[in-house]
Every structure is written in C-alpha cells, then in structure tokens.
C-alpha cells in the first residue's frame, strides 16, 4: 500500500512540481535568513533602488532590503501557514473524530460548536479582538486562523469517521477490548491518513491566503515581516503608482506560488491516493 503510494508519488508530475516549488521556497525561507545579517526592517541602503547586484530585489521607499524582507517574509508566511493550518487540523480532527465516533449528545454539542464557529463573522471578530488585545504577533495570527478555520475540516472528518465507525473492523477492535481513543487513533485515523494529509495541506494553503488577506487589510502581525505585509506596505506606500514593481511583484508571486503549488501538489496527492483518479 505504502510502496504503491510512493510508486505513484514519484511518477506524479503535479505532485513533484508542486512539492518542488514548496521545498525550494521553504528552503529559502528556512535557510535564507541565516545568510542575512541585518534585520529585514533595517534601513540599509539607497531608497527605491531597482533590483541589482547589491540588493537582489532592490530596496523600498525606506531603503530596506527587499530580498531580506522576502526571505524573512517567506519564513513567517510558512510559519503562519503551518501553525494556523496545524492548529485548525488538530482541532478539526479532535472535534471531527470525537463527534463522528462518539455520536449522541457529544456529537450534537460539537456539531453546534462547529456551526457556531462556522457562521462566526471572522473578520468582525478579528477587528474586535485587535481593538482590545492590541499586540499582534505572527503566532497570534496563526492561532486566530487556526481557531476559526477548523469547522469545515471537522465536518468532513466527522462524516468520514461516521461512515468508518460502523465498519466491522471497528466493532472487532471493540471486541478486542480496545478503548475509544485508541480505536480512533489506530483504526479510524490510519484509514483516513491520506485524507487527513490532504486536509492539512488545504488548511495550510488556506491559512496562508487568509493571513495574507489579514496582513493586507492591516490586521497582520506587527512584530514580523510577511509576504502579505510586504504587499500591504507596497500598496500603502503607492509602489504601483511609483513604478516600484520590485516591491510588490516578489511577495505577490511568492504567495501565489506557494498557494498554487500547494493546490497542485494536493491534486497530485489526491491522484496518488485515490485509485479512481489514477486510472488512466
């Protein structure tokens, strides 16, 4: 089974291209900052310099090195994506598994919770939170995204769990004296592992998009540089009108590439895991 998945994985162009792009960008984001000695917000050079030898992506209105910002921004963006997607995935799984497996009143309560969070006007909540809490870090942003994005994952995991819990092998595990937690972890979850992976990838990409949107409307972290914040700054400081394309093209392309690549990889993975899509 696993070998088969691997067999198809290394032959799936979509997966390879998607994962390749992600890995390259991730590599830049993870390793890149170690080669940049100054903080990305430092005013290091002449203002508004086009890309060139000294500053690979040029400088912005303040004379900040945009390559340094891009590299650090990639790191933050990945971090928020992974953290936000991770938190959402974990909550979604806990809620989905519990609701789907336990059923009954636990299901009803969790379902209600899911629906409440689902219809929550996220943006409005964020505005209010922002007004009262004030401090905004990348971690808090990820936490917020995680805390608001899990419902659809929980719903689909619940549905899948629901259909799996009626299977004979689950009954058999119960007949073996295995407890609920272990049945979920070891009988049900492994059956959905590919689905859970796909869910996480979608949440990951979704978190990046949401984070970028939040950044862009001014609800981004204030202690970090992210690709969304770069875009926001470029927009606010009229980079477009001033012709400073090197300020907004790289972060815009970065976000598009990451999310696009995640999507392509997701489609690829889907084909790897799903024999029906794999067929011809």
């Amino acid at each position: 089974m696993k070998a088969e998945a691997l067999y198809f994985a290394i032959r799936n162009t979509k997966l390879l291209v998607g994962a390749g792009i992600i890995l390259v960008l991730l590599g830049i984001g993870v390793i890149g900052p170690f080669f940049i000695d100054k903080p990305p917000t430092e005013y290091v050079g002449m203002q508004m310099q086009p890309p060139g030898g000294e500053f690979w992506l040029g400088t912005n209105t303040f004379g900040q090195d945009l390559w340094a910002q891009f590299v650090h921004g990639l790191r933050t963006t990945f971090l928020v994506g992974a953290l936000g997607g991770g938190i959402a995935a974990v909550i979604g799984m806990v809620v989905g598994f519990l609701a789907g497996y336990k059923g009954g009143w636990i299901d009803e309560i969790l379902n209600m919770l899911t629906n409440i969070v689902l219809v929550l006007p996220t943006l409005a909540v964020l505005f209010i939170l922002n007004a009262y809490i004030g401090v905004r870090s990348a971690g808090m942003q990820a936490l917020f995204i995680g805390l608001t994005q899990w419902p659809w994952a929980a719903r689909s995991i619940r549905a899948q769990t629901f259909s799996l819990r009626g299977r004979d092998f689950v009954d058999l595990a119960r007949l073996s004296g295995v407890g609920s937690g272990r049945i979920i972890m070891r009988e049900i979850a492994p059956n959905m592992s590919s689905y859970l992976l796909l869910t996480f990838i979608l949440l990951f990409g979704g978190s990046i998009l949401i984070a970028s949107s939040l950044d862009f409307i001014g609800l981004g972290p204030t202690d970090a540089v992210s690709l969304g914040l770069m875009l926001q700054q470029a927009h606010q400081w009229s980079a477009m009108h001033l012709g400073l394309w090197w300020w907004f093209v790289p972060p815009g392309a970065g976000i598009t590439l990451i999310v696009g690549a995640l999507y392509v990889a997701n489609v690829g993975l889907d084909e790897v895991f799903n024999p029906k899509l794999r067929e011809l």
């Binding site: 092998f169 058999l172 073996s176």
Partner: protein, 260 residues
C-alpha cells in the same frame, strides 16, 4: 450457559428521535456450551441486533443477557470479551485495510497477553491457526486483500480461539463466501462445538442453519416465532411464517412448482 431473557431493543428514529422502532421484542433463548444455535430470520428481523447485543456492541433497551446466571452487564467488557467473541458477515470489512491481516492477533495480545513472550505467543497463534486449518505461512504477514474471504473468516475464528472463548457469535459469516469455500468454514464452526464452544449462528439461509445447528430460533419482525430443536423446526414447523420460509428456500434437486 448464555441466556437471553426478555431482551428488547427499541431504536429512536426520525429527525429528533421522536419516533421509535422496536427491532427486537422480548427475545429469550439460550445457548449451551458445545451447541450451535441458529438464529434464522430475514432482513429486518432483528437477528443482527441480537448478535450485537450479545456482543455488547449495543445495549438492550430492556431484558437481560446472562452467562451462567450472571448478568453480563456486571462483567467488565475486557473480561467479557475473553469469553464471548464474534465474527461478522463481510470478511473484507472486518479487517482494517491499511494494516496487515494478522494485526487482529496483535490487538488481542496488546490487551490480553501483554506479558507473554514472543515464542509462546507464536506457538499460541500456530495452534489457533491449526485449529482453523490455516497454514501460518499462507496467511501471516499478508494484507487482507491478498487473502481470500474464506481465509479471512477463518483467521477471525482463530483470533477468537486465542482467547479460550466459551461462546462465539457468527453473524452471517459465510454469506459472502463462494460456494466452493463456504462449506469448509461451516464445517469448521461445527467442529468447534466439539471443543465445548457454544455458537450463535446467525443466518438467513435455512439450509445452512439446518446443516450445523442443534437448535433453531426463527425470528420475524423482532419476535421469536419458533424455537426448538432443529429437526423439529424443519420437519414440523408450527408457525405459518416458518412454513412460508421453508417453502421459499430454493432446493437444488426440487423445483418450487414440484414441491407445491
């Protein structure tokens, strides 16, 4: 002796559980050690619900299930499952498709035989496989889809045997098997009673029930309509439903129109 006494199961249905549906109504019968009891009924008769209640996968709404006079609800589930085990209809869905088939043994070991050394355990498995006439090399370390339905069902019976069980619930365990192999599994079940095992054999196929059981319970819409020694039930059915059922069974050498 495994005894059911006035066992009833009522399901709540409808959008808000406002309606009820009685799946099993005051069922009572017993299984003695070394005896196969057939529980015969058509779909919706409640026969699987009874199987699940005996296996404590569903709680009865009322009535008691007892072993040797002791209400099973007073027993811890782990202890209970050492005595009572089950095998289900679909061999393929009884196995978690992502794991190897012999994981069903490992699961038992984890819970009941933690301290048993590997060697002893291997010997135990081999003995159990031998009892179901499987060769270890043919079935161990394989994924479910690499094995046939007959092999899988036998493997599940071997799993139950590891626990020195007293009672086995066999819920339609051969209906998904091919004709060429189902009789062997049936024979195996019949052999188990020689080991003193009590078997609840749930089926819709009267011929199969007739083949191996000592006593037969006929279930219709949740109620027991006929209960007695198998020969008596098949040769002198008392209830009209049983007679209708018998008349509908396709016989290899007799055509319906000839019989009537």
């Amino acid at each position: 002796m495994l005894k059911l006494d006035g066992v009833t199961k009522v399901y709540r249905i409808g959008a808000f559980g406002g309606q009820t549906m009685t799946a099993v109504d005051e069922a009572g019968f017993e299984i003695k050690p070394g005896e196969v009891v057939s529980l015969i009924g058509e779909s919706g008769s409640g026969k699987s619900t009874i199987g699940k209640m005996v296996l404590r996968l569903l709680p009865p709404t009322s009535g008691t299930i007892s072993i040797d006079g002791r209400d099973v609800r007073q027993m811890g589930k782990r202890d209970y499952y050492r005595k009572v085990q089950g095998v289900f209809q679909d061999p393929f869905s009884s196995y978690n498709p992502v794991f190897k088939a012999d994981r069903v043994f490992a699961m038992i070991r984890e819970v009941y035989f933690k301290g048993v050394p590997d060697k002893e355990w291997t010997a135990k498995i081999e003995a159990a496989l031998d009892a179901v006439r499987l060769s270890p090399g043919a079935v161990l370390n394989k994924f479910p889809h690499q094995l046939s339905g007959g092999q899988l069902q036998r493997l599940l019976i071997a799993r139950a045997l590891l626990l020195d069980i007293e009672y086995l619930v066999a819920d339609e365990i051969i209906s998904m098997l091919d004709a060429s192999t189902r009789i062997d599994v049936l024979n195996l079940l019949a052999d188990l009673k020689q080991r003193g095992l009590g078997v609840l054999f749930i089926t819709h196929d009267l011929a199969l029930g007739n083949y191996i059981s000592e006593r037969t319970v006929v279930l219709h819409k949740g109620r027991i309509v006929e209960y007695g020694p198998t020969d008596a039930v098949f040769e002198q059915p008392e209830h009209a439903y049983t007679r209708k059922l018998l008349a509908s069974v396709p016989q290899l050498h007799t055509k319906w129109e000839d019989a009537s």
